[in-house]
């Protein structure tokens, strides 16, 4: 059986790839995908520790995490759509003020 440390390393790698995307990219769509990677890293940890403890709670939480991610994407894409309509661009650094 694969040790828990391997899952943790995989999770850390996925999370850090997502964090790298959030910190370096300006395209809102890539930004959103990077946030999804970070959420999925948390799900990997949930499932790994579910196996570690022989309890299903972690897997149920991972399913809920996927549902939260879906809700986040739905709202995120709506926001990106409004961003594009108002700024003709999906650059997150353009929308730095709340005035129009």
């Amino acid at each position: 059986m694969i040790p828990a440390e391997s899952y943790l390393l995989l999770s850390a790698a996925v999370f850090c790839i997502g964090l790298f995307g959030v910190l370096t990219r300006r395209n809102a769509l890539i930004f959103l995908m990077s946030v999804e990677l970070m959420l999925n890293a948390a799900n990997i940890n949930f499932v790994a520790f579910s196996l570690q403890h022989g309890n299903l709670t972690g897997q149920v939480f991972a399913l809920f995490g996927m549902a939260i991610a879906a809700a986040e994407v739905a709202i995120g894409i709506g926001i990106i759509l409004v961003l594009y309509r108002n700024f003709s661009d999906v650059d997150v650094t353009k929308a730095t003020t709340m005035r129009w």
Partner: protein, 137 residues
């Protein structure tokens, strides 16, 4: 003029060093700890059935076939319903955000769409085309 894909060099990669540093720190920490052997779920564990039982808060023993063992878990019926409401709200929010503005209706956060639409029509040679100009002789 070439139209080939180009390497995206937008922004600075310096900020990304924080992510790389975090990965190094996490790797060092995870390599230094040792976990006991995973408990696992057993050979005949019906994981999917047990997940369904946990989600709908029913006794997993009712769902098991001959020779299948239930995996322990808790009931999550309330959380399941709350997440369902949240998804519904998110769907409504997404539709509200994505709704295209009607002519003259101020839907888009301080944006006057009516004048934009008229300008577009004028540019296409419609009403007001004399003012909008164009390249036709």
């Amino acid at each position: 003029m070439t139209n080939r894909p180009r390497l995206n060099t937008e922004g600075s990669l310096v900020a990304g060093l924080a992510a790389v540093g975090l990965f190094v720190v996490l790797t060092v920490v995870f390599m230094g700890v040792s976990f006991p052997a995973p408990v696992g779920f057993g050979e005949n564990a019906a994981i999917t059935k047990s997940l369904g039982a946990a989600m709908f808060d029913i006794a997993p023993g009712q769902l098991m076939d001959e020779g299948q063992t239930a995996v322990p878990g808790e009931g999550f019926l309330v959380a399941f319903l709350v997440i369902g409401v949240l998804l519904d709200a998110a769907l409504d929010g997404a539709v509200m955000l994505a709704k295209r503005e009607e002519k003259g209706e101020n839907v888009g956060l301080g944006h006057d769409t009516a004048s934009q639409e008229e300008a577009a029509v004028a540019a296409d040679g419609g009403p007001g085309a004399d003012d909008a100009g164009g390249d036709e002789s």
